[in-house]
C-alpha cells in the first residue's frame, strides 16, 4: 500500500490529540480486564508450581486433592494430549510440565474448585515425588559441553561441535572482508558484555475465564495481545476446531510482548472440560514473575575498528542469549539489529540461542535488539572517547541511509536515522553544560517493524456515524488512531467514529498486536476499508442523481458531482447518504483484508544526562530526550507515550531491573519490591522530539513506534554513567553496588 504521492496532503484530523476513548472507563473502574469476567457456576482455578529448578516428576498423586469437598477437577499433563507439532508441544509443556519440571515455578498440576480458598487448599494436597536434577541458569555455563542438559535432542545441526546440547540454534549475518576492514582501523576495541533478564512488568497479571460445554463449543475471555493466536494455540492443544472456540480479548493492562502467547488459557479450558463448569484463573504477581516470559539474558563479545577520523572500518558481534527452558529464536533478531544503524563495508554478527532452567522467554518490546545494540553502542562510545571524537558526529559519519546495504541483508529505503541524529545535534540538550560527577550518554536504536495479517470492517450507520471492527487488542491507543484515520479518510469528525476490538468469530485472522504493527497495518486496512465504503457511497449518490458512478467524487465528507458536466447537484453528506441507504441498496460497509508489507524500519536516538553519587554508586537520571522517526504521528500524545514508556522501561533495565537466581536455581525476587522497576520519582520528565519522515509503505506515511524506544536507553545510560565515573561499565543492570565497586577499583 504505497504512500499517497499526491500527499502534499494537509491532514485535518490525523495529527490531532483528542482525549483517549478508553480514558473514562479506565479511570472510573468500569473497563473490563481479564479478571473482571464472571460466569454462572464459575469455578476458581489454581496452579501447582515446581519448587525446583530442574527435576524429574517421578509421580503425582492427586487423590487427596480430588477428595476434598468443593474440588471439581484436578488436571496434570496426563489430561492433555501430546501435540504432533513441536512448537505447539513446547507451548503446552510450558503450560503444564510433562515428565520433568524445567524451572522454578513451572506448572505441573491444576485444580478447579468452588472457591479460591478451596483450590489453594487442594493444591497443598497434591503429592509430588521429585527426583532433583542438576540445573543451570547462566548462559555461558549452559553452553559448556558438561553443563546439565535442560532438554535432550533440541540442538539444530548448524550448531558447531564442542558445545552443550543446550545450544539449540546458531545464526550468522553480514557482508564484506572483516580482516581487511580491521587492517584499516587506527583503533580496535574488543569488549565483553552481560545483560540480565528483565520482565515486561505489565500492571495486569494474566487472567482468563474458560468455558467448554459438553457439545465441544468453547468460549474464552482473556487478557491477551492476540485473541486469534490464542485460539490457534488453544484449539491446537485441546484438539478442537477453530470455529468452535471463540476467544474474546479483554481490556488489557499492558503487555509489551509478554502477552503474545498462552500460559493459563489451555489449563483453564482443560479444567473446564473436565469439570463441565466455567473456570477462571488469575495469576498472582509472583506467578507472573516466575512463570511468564521475561526477556532473554545475554553474554556478548563486540569488536569494532575505527579510523582516527571516526569511520568504522569493520565490526563484529558474537551474541549468546539464553531464553529459558524452551528453544527460541530471539538471538536472530539481536544479530540482525546489532549494526543496523551503520553503513559498514565489513560486518559480521553471530548468534547462539541457549536453553537454561529459567522460564521460557517471551517477546519484550523489540525482542533481542536492546542488548545487542547496547553492547555495540557502548563500544562505539568508547572508541569515540579514546579517539577524542564527538559521539554524535561519529554516528552521523557512519549512519545508514537510503541505499545503504544493511548489516542484515536488505538495502534501506527512506529511513529517518540521519534526520534524527541531526535533530539531536541541534537540540539544546546536546550542548547543555555538565557538572562534576555528571555524564551524557548517547545511543541509536532500531527496530524492523512488522505488518502482517489484518482484517477490518467499517460500517456506515444510518445515523451518519461509523463503527469500525478490528481484531487487535488496543495496547497503546490504537482505537483512537484507527478512528482518526477513518475520520480523516471519510471527511467526518473524529467523534462520529467508534472502533471496537472484536472476538475471533467476528473477523478473519488478525496477527497478534506485536511488531509495532497495529497503527501501521490496521490503519492501512482502515483507510482502504474507508475507501471502499466511499466507493459504495459515491455509487449510491450516483443512483440518486441518476448519473454515472464515476461522475461522483468524495470531498470533505460529501459526495459531489465530479464537475459541471456531471450535473448540478448539491453535495450529499455521509449522513444524508446513510439515512436513505435502505432505499438505495441496503447497508453500507467497507472491508479490507491484507497481509501487509512495507512496515518501514524505525530509528531513534536518545540523549541521557546522569549524575552518579561517587560515595554510593547511585545514579540519578537528570535529563532525558528521545528523538524518533514516527513516519506520521497519527495521535501525537500516544506516540510520545510510546517514546516515554520505552525510555522508562529501558532506564529500569539499565539501572536496577534483573532476575536474580540463587545457587539453588530459585528465583529470589518474584515481586516488585525486589524487582526494581523505576517509580515516577526516579525519573525526570522524558522529553520527546517526533520526526516525520514518511514511510513509503503506508498511505499516510505511518511507521510503527512502539518498540524502537526501548532500544537506546541501555547504552545511553551506560555511556552516561561510564563518562560520569571515568570507568567503562560492561554489565547491566548498573545497580549501585556494581557502580560503587567500579568507582572504588578506579581509586
Amino acid at each position: 500500500m504505497a504512500f499517497d504521492q499526491n500527499s502534499k496532503r494537509i491532514f485535518k484530523v490525523v495529527g490531532s490529540r483528542p482525549p483517549r476513548p478508553d480514558g473514562v472507563e479506565k479511570v472510573t473502574g468500569r473497563a473490563l480486564y481479564g479478571a473482571d469476567m464472571t460466569a454462572p457456576g464459575m469455578l476458581s482455578g489454581a496452579i501447582l508450581r515446581s519448587p525446583h529448578a530442574h527435576a524429574r516428576i517421578v509421580s503425582i498423586d492427586t487423590s487427596a486433592a480430588e477428595a476434598l469437598q468443593g474440588v471439581k477437577a484436578v488436571v496434570t499433563s496426563a489430561d492433555f494430549g501430546v501435540p504432533d507439532d513441536e512448537f505447539l508441544r513446547d507451548v503446552q509443556d510450558n503450560c503444564m510440565a510433562r515428565g520433568k519440571v524445567l524451572y522454578h515455578g513451572h506448572a505441573l498440576g491444576a485444580v478447579a474448585a468452588t472457591s479460591a480458598a478451596v483450590a489453594k487448599q487442594a493444591l497443598a494436597l497434591i503429592v509430588v515425588d521429585y527426583e532433583i536434577l542438576p540445573h543451570v541458569t547462566d548462559v555461558d555455563a549452559a553452553m559448556r559441553p558438561d553443563a546439565p542438559v535442560v532438554q535432550e535432542g533440541r540442538s539444530l545441526e548448524n550448531v558447531g561441535p564442542g558445545l552443550s546440547q543446550n545450544v539449540t540454534s546458531y545464526c550468522e549475518f553480514g557482508h564484506g572482508d572483516l580482516d581487511a576492514g580491521f587492517d584499516q582501523a587506527d583503533l580496535i576495541i574488543s569488549r565483553s558484555f552481560k545483560t540480565a533478564a528483565t520482565h515486561q512488568g505489565y500492571i495486569e497479571p494474566h487472567a482468563c475465564l474458560a468455558s467448554l460445554s459438553a457439545d465441544g463449543r468453547g468460549d474464552l475471555w482473556c487478557c491477551t495481545q492476540g485473541q486469534f493466536f490464542v485460539r490457534t494455540l488453544c484449539a491446537g492443544i485441546l484438539g478442537i476446531e477453530a470455529s468452535q472456540l471463540r476467544v474474546t480479548a479483554s481490556e488489557i493492562g499492558g503487555g509489551f510482548g509478554g502477552k503474545t502467547t498462552v500460559f493459563i488459557e489451555p489449563v483453564a479450558l482443560t479444567l473446564a472440560r473436565k469439570s463441565g463448569r466455567p473456570v477462571k484463573i488469575v495469576m498472582s504477581r509472583e506467578e507472573v514473575f516466575k512463570a511468564t516470559g521475561p526477556t532473554v539474558s545475554s553474554s556478548m563479545d563486540i569488536k569494532i575498528g575505527m579510523t582516527r577520523e571516526g569511520r568504522i572500518t569493520a565490526a563484529q558481534a558474537q551474541l549468546r542469549y539464553q531464553g529459558g527452558a524452551f528453544p527460541c529464536g530471539t538471538v536472530e533478531m539481536g544479530a540482525q539489529a546489532a549494526f543496523a544503524a551503520y553503513d559498514l563495508a565489513a560486518v559480521q554478527t553471530q548468534g547462539w540461542n541457549v536453553l537454561t532452567n529459567r522460564p521460557k522467554e517471551a517477546a519484550y518490546r523489540a525482542p533481542g535488539a536492546p542488548m545487542a545494540i547496547y553492547a555495540v553502542e557502548s563500544v562505539v562510545d568508547e572508541l569515540c572517547q579514546q579517539l577524542a571524537l564527538d559521539p554524535l558526529a561519529v554516528r552521523l559519519m557512519n549512519a545508514a541511509q537510503k541505499g545503504t546495504l544493511s548489516s542484515y541483508g536488505p538495502t534501506f529505503d527512506d529511513i529517518g536515522l540521519r534526520a534524527t541524529l541531526e535533530a539531536a545535534q541541534a537540540h539544546p540538550h546536546y550542548s547543555a553544560p555538565l557538572r562534576p560527577n555528571q555524564g551524557r550518554g548517547l545511543s541509536c536504536g532500531f527496530w524492523f517493524n512488522f505488518g502482517g495479517n489484518t482484517c477490518v470492517s467499517l460500517n456506515i450507520n444510518t445515523d451518519g456515524t461509523v463503527g469500525i471492527t478490528e481484531g487487535n487488542p488496543d495496547i497503546g491507543g490504537s482505537r483512537a488512531s484507527i478512528s482518526l484515520m477513518a475520520a480523516e479518510e471519510l471527511g467526518i469528525p473524529y467523534d462520529k467514529v467508534r472502533t471496537i476490538v472484536a472476538d475471533t468469530s467476528s473477523l478473519g485472522y488478525n496477527d497478534v498486536t506485536d511488531g509495532s504493527r497495529v497503527t501501521f497495518s490496521v490503519g492501512l486496512a482502515t483507510i482502504e476499508a474507508a475507501r471502499s465504503a466511499i466507493k459504495v457511497m459515491c455509487g449510491r449518490a450516483a443512483r440518486i442523481w441518476g448519473i454515472e458512478e464515476d461522475a461522483v467524487i468524495w470531498e470533505d465528507g460529501c459526495a459531489k458531482p465530479a464537475g459541471p458536466n456531471a450535473g448540478a447537484f448539491p453535495p450529499m453528506s455521509l449522513a444524508e447518504i446513510a439515512a436513505v441507504s435502505a432505499n438505495t441498496g441496503g447497508p453500507i460497509a467497507g472491508h479490507f483484508e491484507v497481509n501487509a508489507d512495507g512496515a518501514g524500519v524505525s530509528f531513534g536516538v536518545h540523549l541521557a544526562d546522569v549524575e552518579v553519587d561517587p560515595e554510593t554508586g547511585a545514579t540519578k537520571v537528570l535529563r532525558y530526550t528521545v528523538f524518533q522517526d514516527a513516519g506520521k504521528a497519527v495521535h501525537p500524545d500516544y506516540v510520545e507515550g510510546q517514546m516515554q514508556g520505552g525510555a522508562v522501561q529501558g532506564i529500569g533495565w539499565a539501572l536496577n531491573e534483573e532476575y536474580i537466581y540463587g545457587a539453588d536455581g530459585r528465583l529470589q525476587n518474584a515481586g516488585f519490591l525486589d524487582y526494581r522497576t523505576p517509580v515516577a520519582s526516579d525519573l525526570p520528565n522524558i522529553d520527546t522530539v517526533i520526526l516525520e519522515i514518511p514511510n513509503p509503505g503506508h498511505p499516510y506515511g505511518v511507521r510503527g513506534v512502539g518498540e524502537t524506544p526501548i532500544v537506546p536507553p541501555l547504552a545511553a545510560l551506560s555511556n552516561a554513567v561510564s563518562r560520569a565515573i571515568g570507568v567503562r561499565l560492561n554489565e547491566l543492570p548498573m545497580s549501585p553496588p556494581k557502580v560503587l565497586g567500579a568507582i572504588m577499583q578506579r581509586g
Partner: protein, 287 residues
C-alpha cells in the same frame, strides 16, 4: 479467624494472652495485612488496637512527646512540635512507603514487625525513645533499643503490646537526622541506613551524640565508638573519618539480593557521615 477491637489496652493484652493459636496485632496493617494476603501468616486472632483510648494521640509530656502506638506517619508529620524537636524521627517515619501507606503505617508497627531494615527504628533508638508496654501483668517501660530481638522477632512476651513511644525533652542546640540508601527513590527497602542525634554546646562543639545503623546487622546497631568520635569535636574531617571507621567496624551485614556485605558496610559509613552533618546543621540553626 477472629477479629477483635478492644476498648482498652488491658483488654487487648488479655485477648492476646488467652489466644492459644497465632495472634497478630493490627495497627496500620501495612505489614500484617500484606503478610496475610501473601499467605505468610494466617492468624487465628487479629486484635485491632485503634479503638483503644489515647492510642491515636500525640501528647506533650515533661517537655517531650508521647506518641500513641496507632499514630500514623502522616499524623506525625503534621505535628509541629514533634517536627521541630525530632526532625530525624519524623523524616524516618515519613520515608515509610508512599502517601497511601503513610496514612496507615505506624512507628510501633514498624518496630514490632521486626525488620532489620525498618526505617523508623534507628531514628527512635538514636532519640533514646522509650516504649510503654501493657501486658497481662501490668505496664512497663522499655528502651526502644531493647525491643528488636532479630529478624521478625521482638523481646515482647506473649500478651504484651506497646501502647506508646516516648520521645524525651531535649536542650537547645540539639537535633537529629536519618538517611537511608535505596536503589529506588520510593517504594523500596533500606539497604543500609543511619540515624544521628546530637547536641551542640554554646561553642558549637558536640557534647552528646548517638549514632545508630540499620540494615547492617540482624538488629539495629547503636555504635558507641562512633558517638565517642564526635563528642568534643566540631565534626571536623578527622572526627567524621573516625566516626565513619567506627560505623564500618560495627557493621555485620549479609550478602543478599538487596546488597553485598562490602556495599552495605561502605554505604553505612557514608550515610552516617552525611546524617551527622545534617544533624549538626539543624542543631546549629536551633542554638
Amino acid at each position: 479467624m477472629r477479629y477483635e477491637r478492644p476498648q482498652t489496652a488491658t483488654q487487648a493484652a488479655q485477648l492476646l494472652a488467652n489466644e492459644p493459636g497465632l495472634a497478630r496485632i493490627l495497627a496500620g496493617g501495612t505489614d500484617v495485612l500484606v503478610q496475610m494476603k501473601a499467605g505468610m501468616v494466617t492468624p487465628d486472632l487479629v486484635v485491632d488496637i485503634k479503638k483503644i483510648a489515647q492510642i491515636g494521640n500525640i501528647q506533650s509530656e515533661e517537655g517531650g512527646y508521647r506518641i500513641g502506638a496507632a499514630v500514623s506517619g502522616a499524623q506525625l508529620g503534621e505535628h509541629a512540635g514533634v517536627c521541630a524537636q525530632w526532625p530525624g524521627v519524623v523524616e524516618a517515619a515519613q520515608l515509610i512507603g508512599s502517601t497511601q501507606v503513610q496514612g496507615r503505617a505506624t512507628m510501633v508497627g514498624n518496630l514490632c514487625n521486626g525488620s532489620p531494615a525498618a526505617d523508623s527504628v534507628p531514628a527512635l533508638v538514636a532519640a533514646n525513645a522509650v516504649a510503654r508496654i501493657t501486658g497481662p501483668n501490668g505496664t512497663r517501660d522499655c528502651p526502644v533499643a531493647d525491643i528488636p530481638a532479630g529478624p521478625g522477632r521482638t523481646t515482647l512476651t506473649k500478651g504484651e503490646l506497646i501502647t506508646s513511644v516516648f520521645l524525651p525533652a531535649r536542650p537547645q542546640g540539639a537535633a537529629d537526622a536519618y538517611l537511608r540508601f535505596t536503589p529506588r527513590t520510593e517504594m523500596d527497602i533500606a539497604v543500609a541506613s543511619a540515624a544521628v542525634s546530637l547536641t551542640l554546646d554554646a561553642q558549637g562543639r558536640c557534647c552528646e551524640a548517638r549514632v545508630v545503623l540499620g540494615a547492617v546487622a540482624p538488629r539495629v546497631v547503636l555504635v558507641a565508638e562512633a558517638a565517642a568520635a564526635l563528642i568534643g569535636t566540631h565534626l571536623e574531617p578527622p572526627a567524621l573519618d573516625a566516626m565513619v571507621a567506627a560505623c564500618r567496624a560495627a557493621c555485620a551485614p549479609i550478602d543478599d539480593k538487596r546488597g553485598t556485605v562490602a556495599f552495605r558496610t561502605q554505604v553505612a559509613g557514608v550515610l552516617a557521615k552525611r546524617a551527622a552533618v545534617i544533624a549538626q546543621t539543624r542543631a546549629g540553626a536551633k542554638s
